[in-house]
Subunit: 144 residues, 2 copies
DNA sequence: CATAAATAGGATAAATTTATCCGAAATAAG
DNA sequence: CTTATTTCGGATAAATTTATCCTATTTATG
């Protein structure tokens, strides 16, 4: 469904949120250990998230990645996915036609739209805060 | 969402169904032209569909691909997807945890399950016949 | 200012997916 | 039986995604 890069990006962002809520910056090393992902690759994905202003990076000694506490409740899962995988997952045709078009639909268009809208709805109505809370309370996990 | 191979496989199967319903066998060349896909790659995907008994192949002169007329109404979209992409799309964790597990869920598990079930439901309740009819009646298209 | 610690980013490699090529095997028809 | 036609399947190549490595740049601190 999502690319590996996107999976890592989502988990990394959640982990950063959990730590930022407790005023701790985290490094790519710490992140990749906690979410069980390749470190250098994860660092690259974090760069993309920084460029898209989903997370903030602080360079130099005592630096690391963080998210403004106040922003955690406003960041939606959709923003993370969009920063990494783009919007093809919402907008693309399920059978790969050049564009998904009501007027020139592929055979699965109507049925596919329902699923895609459900996904879009889910991504746009899930906040980083909700996800981070489940990690903090120990009801959800980021690895294994 | 689906791999290229799966997209080609679905469109190819629909095209074969349309033609089989009119007692015509079709070749990979004809198929790839009608669904706008690379010929040799499409042929490989057709082999997989034959192995999984979704379509039938007839070798030699006047051969080609076909689907038993009576079977067209019984083949579900899920069978095609499963033959090519496997069941990861139903069963895999949305964030790439080793297994999707109610007892050890990732942070998006509950919400992701809803979308995934919607997709499974869609794939298992869409028959090849429905898809082929939309092509025959000209309300849906296999390319562009 | 010097130093150590940390992210940024370019170059490169490995793995996977997508795509091509070609000879082998099968089959209908003459 | 021979020939033409057609799928099968292995080998290979190209493209994309995933992953690693190394140097440059930034920044806090002494
Ligand atoms: S045209 Fe294929 S999903 Fe809309
Ligand atoms: S554990 Fe991640 S989707 Fe179920």
């Amino acid at each position: 469904m999502f690319s590996k890069a996107c999976e890592y990006g989502i988990k990394a962002t959640i982990f950063i949120a959990v730590n930022s809520s407790e005023n701790r910056r985290v490094s790519p090393k710490e992140i990749s250990e906690e979410i069980d992902s390749p470190q250098a690759f994860t660092a690259k994905i974090l760069q993309a998230l920084v460029r898209h202003k989903v997370v903030k990076s602080v360079r130099g000694a005592y630096g690391g990645f963080e998210i403004d506490k106040g922003k955690i409740a406003t960041i939606k899962l959709s923003q993370i996915v969009f920063a990494i995988d783009g919007d093809q997952i919402y907008k693309g045709c399920g059978l790969g036609l050049h564009t998904c078009n009501e007027k020139h639909p592929c055979p699965v268009h109507d049925k596919f739209m329902v699923v895609r809208e459900e996904l879009r709805d889910m991504l746009e109505n899930t906040t980083l805060e909700q996800l981070a809370l489940d990690i903090k309370s120990g009801v959800a996990f980021l690895k294994i």
